[in-house]
Subunit: 460 residues, 2 copies
């Protein structure tokens, strides 16, 4: 059923437009530019052709079967009429991207109930209203121009946020290295909700990580049941909007619904094994770490640094986020002794090794020796952004070591991030998560360890 | 006395080298490239000329008075001998950049005590050892190449971190918009310590913000007294290294001293009115906010957004960080009503206004109307990084409004940061702090409000 939304073979766009900039134009253009190879039917009573596609007056005029209908109509009334036509035509999946429904209160609520009723009577699944659609390699129904190919990766991003499948998806596709496969904005979720999508993506073997933003929970018990099942298979990262009184008030005016109580949500999330994010950046950052790094068996971290002070700071942050810095084993310290003028401890200050054998060689030998230590589950590597860092990044040394050793790494680049950002993203970003601050990197790794430990316990 | 370090009229570099890449070369080059207009004397028994400067065999050979001596010698023994020569020559200020002293334990401690003793007997002030020097417009003694002019701004950065006056200072000067005037690495602080510098910069009217990183506290009572005095005049941002057991262990191997107890440090910091940072990025970020934004009188924040979900998330974060989102006044809401199809609340979702009058015009009219509301002390502006954002940034609209209204703003750019980073930094970054995540912006603003409220209470 959900396949109709994500892998349709025919789509109609109601409210399609030939005027660049209009939402109805953007949607047609996005679908045309995506990998969608099926039939595309723009619908508009006043046009004949849009972007080379024949335009139809109404849904019922379209010949043959129709998998998916996307609507962007100026009034809720017109949307209601369209859903009625979809019922007549036998359409089973409709995405309503227009606003003006329950989130506006009053009449908007009535209109929303009307489309829900029609849908129920006719076995139609509705996504939205008040949403920005779907962005994927197969199909892009976003109201925001997506100008590059969607990666077709292993991360999905879903939730009650128009920004998700609009500016944020566009930004990820254009400027970031997060390996998304689908972004889906569910808006007022009058029908299709988080439970449907969690279940759908939970069963999709191509999806390794699910990131989800919710302001309301449709059916708490069901969510707990499904999330538990899914989170046992793959990480589900969860950002809860409206956790505080101020946030709940804001959510009220955003999606028109009373946000779920903070304590209930947090207790539920804990129960399910989902991973809590605190803002939209973490929703992406955590997904980045989970989708690229192997799961650690514990929380014992090696801190690899070139500056003593930064090692101290990271040690403090690790402790604050539940990560341990164990001693390296005797044999590891023996092995590394020659590279250092001082006893090797943790944080491992590579400075001495770098002055002896250079940065690249240090990364190739000293770092993996410490990283392989059986006392170590994961590493925080601090790249200070000095000139020689570039060579190591370009030669993909860290990536290679991580692959060989099979333990997770986060890189924090607190110096030179702005300067080396592009190099990093091009050369390293696809495989290794790079953070501009120590806090963000340590926090992300702590979440990975938390999840890894839980998984390990279950499988033990 | 401290002026000898920061505004010397003559400098000798002991261990100067003519070989590019060597520390003794970098220091001479840095001084030569800085605005330093006094006499520069490289000292090296085996060279005649370095970078066009006449080289002397020893300190005592140098003619005339000598304000400052900088040493980078390969062994602690040679450093001790040099400090003795400085005493003979009547030098009163010495920066020892070489490592190998107390941080190494054992013999290193003995050498450090020797230089301290000589200095005391001869009224010499020592900076270091194990430090990376000073980076300022007047003088750069860093062991790391500083290739651009130091801004000569209103922020100083001091502390027990070699990275500060090396890679970090270089990065700030080259790639960031933080308006620093001086960066000073105090290393093992065998003599000149945080108290000396706090007092010195506290009395310097050109310094508006002091950011400080410490792993140890030399004299807690004195620090509390001085920090209290200074923090009453200007914000002092403080990052404490070794607050946790893991951090303390790391600090032990970094600077060879037992880090101060977390609870004692935090209690002391609270007492003094200093502002606590949690990592090196915050040490810079908070300084950015404090050095560019006016102080708010309270913690009542307007959240200006283009995406409802982001407004909800920021509301939650504000609540979590002690910021309030008050209702706008009746008259403000009346005034803004025409621009919105829904009642205007806080977060102020500009989306409706943008669809009516465009983004730039919205920023010019709708935003300042909300921002001027007497219920509002400060604003978080979320730029979503859509194409039209660029115009607003280039036209410096936000900067202008902030100047006119006289209340502080932080901008969070959670979409498009990577793409627009350079534009933002060039056009906006000097005046308005821009953050890549919601958490980082909200946290920084919360610190500013905290300080503003305290200052306001005191002056009331």
């Amino acid at each position: 059923m959900m396949d109709l939304f994500f892998k349709p073979e025919s789509i109609a766009v109601i409210g399609a437009s030939g005027t660049p900039g209009k939402l109805g134009y953007v949607i047609v253009k996005n679908i045309a530019d995506s990998d969608f190879a099926g039939d595309l039917y723009p619908v508009n009573p006043k046009s004949d052709e849009i972007l080379g596609y024949k335009v139809y007056r109404s849904v019922t005029e379209i010949p043959g079967e129709l998998d998916l209908v996307v609507t962007v109509l100026p009034t809720p009334k017109m949307t209601v009429a369209t859903v009625e036509e979809c019922a007549k035509k036998g359409v089973k999946a409709v995405i309503i991207e227009s606003a003006g429904f329950a989130e506006m209160g009053g009449e908007g609520k009535v209109f929303q109930q009307q489309i829900v009723d029609i849908a129920k009577q006719n076995n139609i699944r509705l996504m939205g209203p008040n949403c920005s659609g779907i962005v994927s390699r197969d199909i892009v129904t976003s109201i925001y121009p997506i100008t590059k190919k969607v990666p077709g990766g292993n991360v999905v991003l879903i939730g009650q946020s128009g920004l998700l499948a609009a500016g944020m998806a566009s930004d990820i596709v254009e400027n970031e290295s997060l390996n998304i496969s689908r972004v889906c904005s569910i808006g007022n979720k009058c029908d299709v909700n988080e439970n449907d999508l969690l279940e759908y993506f939970g069963n999709d073997d191509g999806v390794d990580v699910i990131s989800m933003y919710l302001e309301t929970i449709t059916d708490g018990r069901k969510l707990v049941r499904i999330a538990k099942e899914v989170a046992a298979k793959k990480p589900v990262i969860f950002l809860s909007g409206g956790r505080t009184e101020a946030g709940a008030r804001a959510a009220m005016s955003h999606t028109g619904s009373i946000a779920s109580n903070a304590r209930i949500v947090e207790a539920a999330v804990k129960q399910t094994g989902m991973i809590m994010a605190d803002d939209f950046t973490e929703l992406k950052d955590f997904a980045k770490v989970f989708s690229t790094q192997p799961l650690p068996k514990g929380n014992r971290v090696a801190v690899i640094t070139l500056a003593g002070s930064v090692g101290v700071n990271v040690s403090d942050l690790c402790a604050a986020h539940g990560l341990e810095l164990p001693k390296l084993r005797e044999e590891t310290r023996e092995k590394l002794k020659d590279m250092f003028d001082t006893p090797v401890s943790n944080p491992v200050d590579l400075y001495f090794s770098v002055t002896k054998i250079g940065f690249t060689k240090t990364l190739e030998t000293t770092f993996p020796d410490a990283f392989r230590d059986p006392n170590i589950d994961a590493a925080v590597v601090i790249l200070a952004g000095f000139k020689y860092t570039r060579e190591a990044v370009e030669k993909k040394i860290i990536q290679k070591i991580v692959r060989e050793v099979g333990k997770p790494v986060v890189v924090c680049m607190i110096v030179g991030y702005n300067k080396y950002k592009n190099v990093i993203m091009d050369e390293m970003g696809k495989e290794i998560p790079v953070f501009p601050s120590l806090i963000s990197g340590v926090k992300a790794l702590s979440r990975l360890c938390e999840y890894g430990i839980r998984k390990h316990k279950k499988s033990a």
